[in-house]
Subunit: 615 residues, 2 copies
Amino acid sequence: MNTPELVELAQQLRVDSVRCSAAAGSGHPTSSMSAADLMAVLLANHLRYDFDRPDHPGNDRFILSKGHASPLLYSAYKAAGVVDDAELLTFRKLGSRLEGHPTPQRLPWVETATGSLGQGLPVGVGIALAGKRLDRTDYRVWVLCGDSELAEGAVWEAAEHASYEHLDNLTAIIDVNRLGQRGPTRHGHDLDAYARRLEAFGWHTVEVDGHDVDAIDRAYGEAISTKGQPTAVLARTLKGKGVGAVQDREGLHGKPLPGPEEAIAELGGPRDLRVHVHEPHSARLLHAVRDGQVELPRFDKGEEVATRDAYGKALAALGTGRGEIVALDGEVSDSTRAEYFAKEHPERFFECYIAEQQLVAAAVGLSTRGWVPYASTFAAFLTRAYDFVRMASISGAGINLVGSHAGVAIGQDGPSQMGLEDLAMFRAVHGSTVLYPCDANQTARLVAAMADLDGIRYLRTSRGKSAVLYGPDEEFPIGGSKVLRSSDRDRLTLVAAGVTVPEALAAADALDRAGIQVRVIDLYSVKPVDRLTLRQAAEDTGCLLTVEDHHEAGGLGDAALDPFLDGRPMPRLVRLAVRTMPGSAAPDEQLHAAGIDAESIVAAVQLLVEQAVVR
Amino acid sequence: MNTPELVELAQQLRVDSVRCSAAAGSGHPTSSMSAADLMAVLLANHLRYDFDRPDHPGNDRFILSKGHASPLLYSAYKAAGVVDDAELLTFRKLGSRLEGHPTPQRLPWVETATGSLGQGLPVGVGIALAGKRLDRTDYRVWVLCGDSELAEGAVWEAAEHASYEHLDNLTAIIDVNRLGQRGPTRHGHDLDAYARRLEAFGWHTVEVDGHDVDAIDRAYGEAISTKGQPTAVLARTLKGKGVGAVQDREGLHGKPLPGPEEAIAELGGPRDLRVHVHEPHSARLLHAVRDGQVELPRFDKGEEVATRDAYGKALAALGTGRGEIVALDGEVSDSTRAEYFAKEHPERFFECYIAEQQLVAAAVGLSTRGWVPYASTFAAFLTRAYDFVRMASISGAGINLVGSHAGVAIGQDGPSQMGLEDLAMFRAVHGSTVLYPCDANQTARLVAAMADLDGIRYLRTSRGKSAVLYGPDEEFPIGGSKVLRSSDRDRLTLVAAGVTVPEALAAADALDRAGIQVRVIDLYSVKPVDRLTLRQAAEDTGCLLTVEDHHEAGGLGDAALDPFLDGRPMPRLVRLAVRTMPGSAAPDEQLHAAGIDAESIVAAVQLLVEQAVVR
């Protein structure tokens, strides 16, 4: 498009942003209007995208990191001819695809859900990494950011990662409209302040008047021609640009325009321009399954193996059999054992350094391109990325997250390194799967099984070695469990997972010697849980005693209740969990201090027998 | 101390780090050895600290952000005469104060728990803010960071905040030993790479040889004399410095030295130097309680008020009555209503912009100086700071966190803005308090009550208006509940909180008209819960039906079970919660779609009656 056409297109995007927000009675027209020229030039002259084939491997990728400016995005979709005017006016209404913030669950052209600020660029880095290192096609990733969101640390994790990996296929477009929600940003219209920071982080920067379509056009061209480093286009804009009543004024964030009709007239009235978006370059996906045969590692019963070791070995084997498996780690791959994968498949391993938000975001980005990522760090440090996990679930992203060094069982390092909230955190995520294996063969099987699930998959591994309990051919369906001790005289049921399984077994054997039979369930699938087995145990024994290396809220104990929340008769319940703040001590001392070792279980059961709580 | 003494002291710190790690059989001596000169010069010549009075208001503050280098810290405590050699050798053992990573719960000289990297500087910013804007004393904050942790985005949130607030009382000492846990950092020994970034963020920087005590001494002096901006001392160091077998070598992170005796000999053997640490400047605390009288806002029954409005008003009133109350917000104070406090008490309000990690860290830092912080943002965005909340609980920090716009009830903005995991997240935190008021008077009372609790306090507020239910003189003890409907013919108990309380009441009234009596409990104290009332309801009605605007795991439904987890007979349980991924819709449509509105509750109860589940 030439200059007058671009100007007209931008005005159309503004008008449509005003119109759909007015129809909704809510939304962010002013934040859309500041970026309308930036969007118009991108859509008409630079983006290469086949809207009929959103999965085209050669498509450029566009992320609206400032997701609240969704009216602008949807107006662009209208200009591209994939959303009609009637649908545009369903914005923010029940059942509409045009949600307040864009999500790929509803719209095929959206790469990732945004709306929590500072996440678009980190996810864009993940997609650009895929383009650069894996897909090896020349699609570009364009991320439209707000200026306010540059205060988020995650943006700087992304900035660092992008320049270190020379992601010249990535362009950040920063809409510097100087006004956040509450008022002025720290740096206002000081574009140099942002440029200094980004350049120090290794980026090429271009400063432009964000309402000069020719300048924007040249800046995008410069971004495309810049090699070896990512480019940030820093655009000076005005919030609410084009409508005097709101332009560059505070207190108008997230509100429809006061007089939409007058505003539309001021903007020159409605238009119905259609944009012919450039076709993508031809490209093909490189990650077809290699041979489909995965030879998982096999461990002998009784062998002492840490589940984190089994994770690393299984992942490496999975990567050998399946070309679409990739791994990422937060600079602790020697601990999580992701290094086993890294050594065998260095071309598919991504070191994310100590930046857990970028770690998860990169996994999300890779998943959008069809790769199956496994991202690992200590379970404790995944808490750093909870907002990214939450947003990934809104995206419907399929990612595997692996938290090692879970629980007090790590021993001497103390509470800062112990994941004691991770099960609660992941169970609360919509549509998640939560797995907690207790031995090496079980781990290997679950690592393979999780690859093909939907949504967020979490695997919890342990630091210390433990005896292999199951044979290498045993199967572990998601949503299943293993009954390890059972008789028709069981007086209660011990429900354990991970490190508490051997403790429960030792307790059961000790109790058996004292004439008290108990059932033992290995609840390796914490979400979903094995409802039938738990219900049967409740019916048979009348009492469930859960034992977990996790704080008492939200973990295994809560999971074990899931089968009973429909009004059916309840078993009695007793919960053993970590109820105090641990210190430093040896692993066995930790389990004992927390009251979740075999001895503590025996004592708890004996007390219940004495109190005649169990039958 | 003069140069030879400083050199000797640094060697002593190295020797003691090697000794205590050897005695423990674990720990991070090599990470301690790189920073030994940095620590020696600080302790002997620049830190102003009264170890006998760790709460002295004039004390400098030291944070070991690279918390794994705890052997160095404890060796420094020995040199300062507050830990003896016998205690030093208890490092990492059961019951020792000298944990793997330092925590203020055990040691009075530790400001904040570290061990999750990248948190020391953000907390240090909070303390420096207190010094600059509130305490108005000239203590300095010294933060010793590793180089690896500069990859954490939170560090850059802190860097931005510190320069913006001109925190020239803050010095970051960066131990650039070039080796992370797994291997080399991104920038190795390229000090300029860090300097460029920090200078772009507005910091003064000094680059030094981190093993030249005179250069370090001059650098600290320069930091002290630099006005108007924080200073970073970038020190080129060698991991494992001083012992040839480990110095500057990979693969030796977090391991005791292979031959400790030879290493100690190479370091010149044990020493027993004592450091006379400089006295603090005299200072006094400024935040004595103003008058002790807090006039909370009062709302009339039936008035329509959003709980977020009541929060803002109550907080402003609390701030008027109590001088130690401070407020922080993540650039959404117009939404959370923290702006009411900001307008009345601007000198005690801290705008943290869109940087939720720094928001929580600043609250933690302020709390260490005796201030009582309330930090607010959308409930959804507090997930961004979960690792900081987790670490704050390990610190035993007393902070109030307030999440607004909770749940699907926000309406059109869609799932990215909805807190649906926050109750689970906060319940899983050790020692936390979780409150979820349903009306304005209840909110005001809880805002006041939470100020004086221990640990992490979380208050969940709602966007939309709701009718005031309680009178202004009603009391709401922490751990209490309100029985809103009750009869001797109740066939089940509805347990609600927040936005589901009016829904439960409407449902109860509709059911009553249909001849079905139900009890209704307002469980505003989600943690701790009112055990007696819930047990009584279980005994009286036999069935609890929980209704919550939160995902099904870890929230109100789980909280309501807490009284029954000791093996006592259980009531039947039914849970209504948000089980699908919401889209955009009006608030009432959202509650209905999620199945948590009055109509859905009525339908659920009627089904239970038809199925004869309830008696």
